[in-house]
Subunit: 639 residues, 2 copies
């Protein structure tokens, strides 16, 4: 076989669980050539992960996949209930409940969505089929090499084999991704070690089924401690319920990681724990026992050509329902970075931020996993402590103040489990005072946005069709930076907006540097990327929709984003006195506005003021320059 007859791909993805499917789906939409294999003959049939956290649902909505998920009528968890033995009595009693995603978190979907992993996988697979990507099954990876020196464009050679061994294939690719799970062949071959943060490991039993019970909270998430033991209850679609039971812990005197229990033993155990309530199984859909320890991979890549994500990089207990969600965000994080590099926008060094950002999240997840386990095993919080913790800004009561440590952990837990707690550390794409871009216009006083955190949610009215929309959802997952120009009052900012637009025309502005090659052929219906796949502009005026006239208020080429011009005229309960609630939520002056650059994954990159002269554009050029392939002009800079 000559080198020329070897099939060439942009990326080979191994494993079609959540992390592989998310990566594949995004890259397929953006036009990349993908070879995606999985060693299972079919998608997940039963069991496995099932919890979609609020922030992941935002992402799925942004990808247009939320309706396909919701069509299966998943269970929605809004509250967690705690059950404990009554003082000096037998049985169990409810000792408290808390919100799964309390109102201090500004979430669109303040609940966890519970649905069988196979149905979630199928939503991705259906989307992939639209882009002509097929998961090749059951195939596995046999070997690979990566050598940029010998083949700078397609440095990775991969050997694939049918699971039954009767067919082999060698292919070349720009990238290889392992979404193989905890026993990753790729990780082993690279010789990357898994570190165990917490030496304790557990054996878990998990059972999905339909039950008949008089336990009143069977449709809630519950943590039940009784004198007989502990279980966790998770409601599921189709009247199902999942029970997690800890069968053994390495702290047990006679711990055996191969300890197991039969279906009947686990059911008997659950019956004892739930007393005085009764429980009978009508049907068991899935039952499994598995040992699990906390582990984290030393690296997510060695050469920025062969990457890993998901369970291949981090394992932990199933309690907090974070596995699939962390996998989704690993893949999303890598996808746009590969895209920016391959599309010629970003320097290859951008890929270093993948491990930098996502390994930190995994470290946080593992230490949280410990804290969370302790939180659940401790004496449950008092009702007043939970109430105080639920109230965001208001001063806690005297009683609640004594619970401050709890409140702190509670809040962190909720932020973390909801997915809103992710905070990326400073880097070239996440501005901080140490960033190369320096200007008094950057990160203006008063703004409430934080680089590395998600854009704050806001409702606004789209000007062209008067639709009330979720601003943070308006640009789909297109791999582009999102430049939100909060334009305040047109009467105040007209000159600043005009200067920004004028600056874009200058040689080596990011507009001039990264124009689409097909710009002359772009349809006038193109809403998101009329000029470049690198960014999408959104312009938000503080005022009523009927007072915005795009032809008068939006200058020059910015007017080509007419489908992304908004009026900030929707009342919001979180800022009830604000006349421009989106500006107020972001912390922008509603006369003068400000500019937010949001990364393609929805996290804030940099915030600047909107000023007359070149200051705003200079700041944006400086930000993009720090990771782009071209040095953007700052010739008129007043930095």
């Amino acid at each position: 076989m000559t080198s020329q007859s070897v099939p060439h791909y942009d990326i080979v993805i191994v494993g079609a669980g959540p992390v592989g499917l998310m990566l594949s789906t995004l890259l397929a939409r953006w036009g990349y050539k993908i070879r995606h294999i999985d060693n299972r003959p079919e998608p997940t049939a039963t069991g496995r992960a099932d919890g979609i956290q609020p922030r992941s649902l935002d992402l799925l909505r942004n990808m247009g996949l939320k309706p396909a998920i919701m069509a299966h009528k998943p269970a929605r968890v809004y509250e967690v209930a705690f059950w404990d033995p009554p003082k000096g009595g037998d049985g169990i009693e409810r000792t408290g409940t808390w919100a799964s995603c309390p109102s201090f978190i500004d979430a669109r979907y303040p609940f966890t969505t519970l649905l069988h992993q196979g149905l979630i996988e199928r939503a991705f697979i259906a989307d992939l089929e639209k882009n002509n990507v097929e998961i090749v099954r059951p195939w596995t990876i046999k070997d690979f090499t990566s050598d940029e020196a010998s083949n700078p464009e397609y440095p990775v050679e991969v050997q694939l084999e049918h699971i039954d061994g009767f067919a082999q294939e060698t292919i070349r690719a720009k990238y290889l991704f392992s979404g193989e799970g905890a026993r990753s062949f790729v990780r082993q071959k690279l010789g990357i070690q898994v570190r165990h943060k917490d030496p304790i490991s557990y054996v878990w039993g998990v059972m999905d089924g339909v039950v008949k019970t008089d336990f009143p909270d069977i449709k809630m998430k519950c943590t039940i401690h009784s004198r007989e033991g502990s279980i966790m209850v998770i409601p599921r679609e189709d009247n199902m319920v999942r029970l997690y039971i800890q069968i053994a812990s390495s702290t047990d005197p006679d711990f055996n990681p191969r300890k197991t229990a039969t279906e009947e033993e686990v059911q008997d155990y659950a019956k004892k724990i739930l007393q005085p309530y009764s429980i009978e199984w009508e049907r068991v859909e899935w039952y499994s026992v598995y040992p699990i320890g906390q582990g984290i991979s030393d690296n997510y890549t060695l050469d920025h050509r062969v990457f890993m994500g998901g369970d291949a990089c981090h394992t932990h207990s199933p309690k907090a329902g974070q596995g699939m969600n962390t996998a989704f965000l690993d893949a999303q994080n890598l996808a746009w970075k590969i895209h920016l590099v391959e599309a010629g926008f970003a320097d290859r060094s951008l890929l270093k931020t993948y491990e930098f950002e996502r390994k930190e999240v995994a470290e946080t997840l593992l230490s949280f996993d410990n804290k969370y386990a302790k939180l659940f095993s401790q004496k449950p919080p008092s009702a007043s402590a939970v109430a105080a913790a639920n109230e965001s800004e208001s001063a806690p009561s005297a009683e609640a103040q004594s619970d401050n440590a709890f409140i702190q952990t509670f809040k962190e837990s909720c932020e973390f489990t909801s997915g809103y707690g992710v905070k990326y550390q400073p880097s070239v794409i996440t501005w901080s005072p140490d960033h190369p871009a320096q200007s008094p216009n950057i990160h203006p006083a008063g703004n409430k946005l934080r680089p590395g955190r998600l854009l704050i949610n806001a409702d606004v009215t789209r000007v062209v069709d008067a639709n009330v929309v979720h601003l943070e959802q308006e640009v789909p997952s297109n791999g582009s930076f999102r430049i939100f120009v909060f334009a305040g009052k047109s009467s105040t900012t007209a000159a600043a907006l005009r200067d920004l637009e004028q600056g874009l025309h200058k040689r080596n502005s990011f507009y001039a540097a990264y124009q689409r090659q097909d710009i002359a052929q772009v349809s006038h219906h193109e809403k998101h990327n009329p000029h470049s796949l690198f960014y999408t502009f959104c312009i938000i005026f503080a005022g009523r929709r009927q007072d915005v006239e795009i032809s008068r208020d939006v200058p020059g080429l910015l007017a080509q984003y007419r489908g992304h011009v908004y009026a900030d005229d929707q009342w919001n309960r979180r800022v009830p006195d604000a006349t421009a609630s989106a500006h107020a939520k972001m912390g922008f002056d509603q006369e003068r506005g400000g500019v937010v650059v949001v990364r393609p994954d929805g996290y804030v990159g940099i915030v600047t003021s909107l000023v007359e002269g070149s200051g705003t554009l200079d700041a944006l050029n400086a930000y993009f320059s720090s990771f782009c392939t071209k040095k953007l002009s700052q010739e008129s800079a007043q930095l």
Copy 2:
């Protein structure tokens, strides 16, 4: 062919447009045997109706069909813009906008959804397929007879024929329904006349296509009057736009109902009207010219076996986008009445209320159609008048008061076009002071519900799973009455609730009279109809979710509706000071509550207070007795 070999059906439905499909879909779900034919070889390919009004979207959601509609990304109309010639100048200018469904209407979806009729039809057809109902195409009806005397159970004989004449079939049915459209064979054969309310008729041109234009409101609904003529603009899915152009009116001196215009003529006409803006067509999807007059059928049925609905009964201008919506509600109205009769709950005379209710709505539609046309042809309202009209309760300004007539018409128009204006007249199913059910407990003072109007929307928290839900959507379109027990504070109403439950056990209560025959085999997962297909109970407590304990607060058999027990603990902006917003919106005392019986179509039937003793149940029994097959006990009545 002997009589026994003739196939027997519950209903034969002719025509698979919106009215036929809605009827078929509901009856198929409720287990009826249906023969459904259509004379077209395929569902609608292009054109026809496209506007789903807010109230219709509520209905589609209640049927679970909203996601299938929304998957096509329909256009959403939130505002209507008016364009007129400037004073003394050429061209056109925007003279005002108004909300399509202003905030004084308490709508879940305050917009019109615009989507090609064929895609809407396909959502229904896919649902029918799940219930094994196929639309037989292209077949037509050749003849029918209806004779209850000779065959009381299957009185209707129908002769069907393939459109090409090569196959015929004779079948028998309990009912025949014509959803054939304006040229209904069934109506003609019955000799039912169509009356023309307004002698004026029009010729309309309608064009769907994709355009390139600098007209700023191309994604809004617009009424454009210029010195060159008038058009109406309706945005559509997939960047399409529909233009309606009135080509001729019977008031023209040289009126010819066969007058026509070519595609190019209409485009040239539109170009002139839109000046100074330019418009070019990239693609025309559909173009049609059709004469239309206002007409209403004298009867919707003669014998309550052969029925008609939709365009077979009423025709009018397309301006207000009411055709498909009125058709949906015709079918829904008939479906549950046939079901209640055939399931043995209601006396056959219930069927009389179909024509009684729906013909009145059609009359209103036709007179509204006239008013609406005038409203659009008049001088447009001032901005302040529109603003005043948008504010529901607040006193209009002095200037706006001078526009009172306009405000009145505006409000009526919005209510009507949104679908929330429908108000059924008093009958056995719609309580009024003349109803047979009489008691001081009926229609208690303070309640804001009105028999014959929709249940007011409210958000509540479902107790079993803490999900925040739309109360009015909680019982799906299952053909059952919905009995909402607003139970106030349990501490106050415990005895009343217990007395209501005790009364249900009495011989000849509606509970005892209409129990399911399979009641012993009903699954404990059955959420809506554990006791009877006749009704579903919902119980709403004023208070926080965590303070409701179903086993303690919901007595006896009512606890079997545990999936329909709610806490009224959600804040609502329309009643910002209420601690129990659902109670407040209904006008119920939050200590003492009240009971609402909602018809299977979502309209209020009767409202009673929740009292100790037999008063509440007596009132409910009396209401149901007025149309049920059995006389329900009022032995302990204090009426």
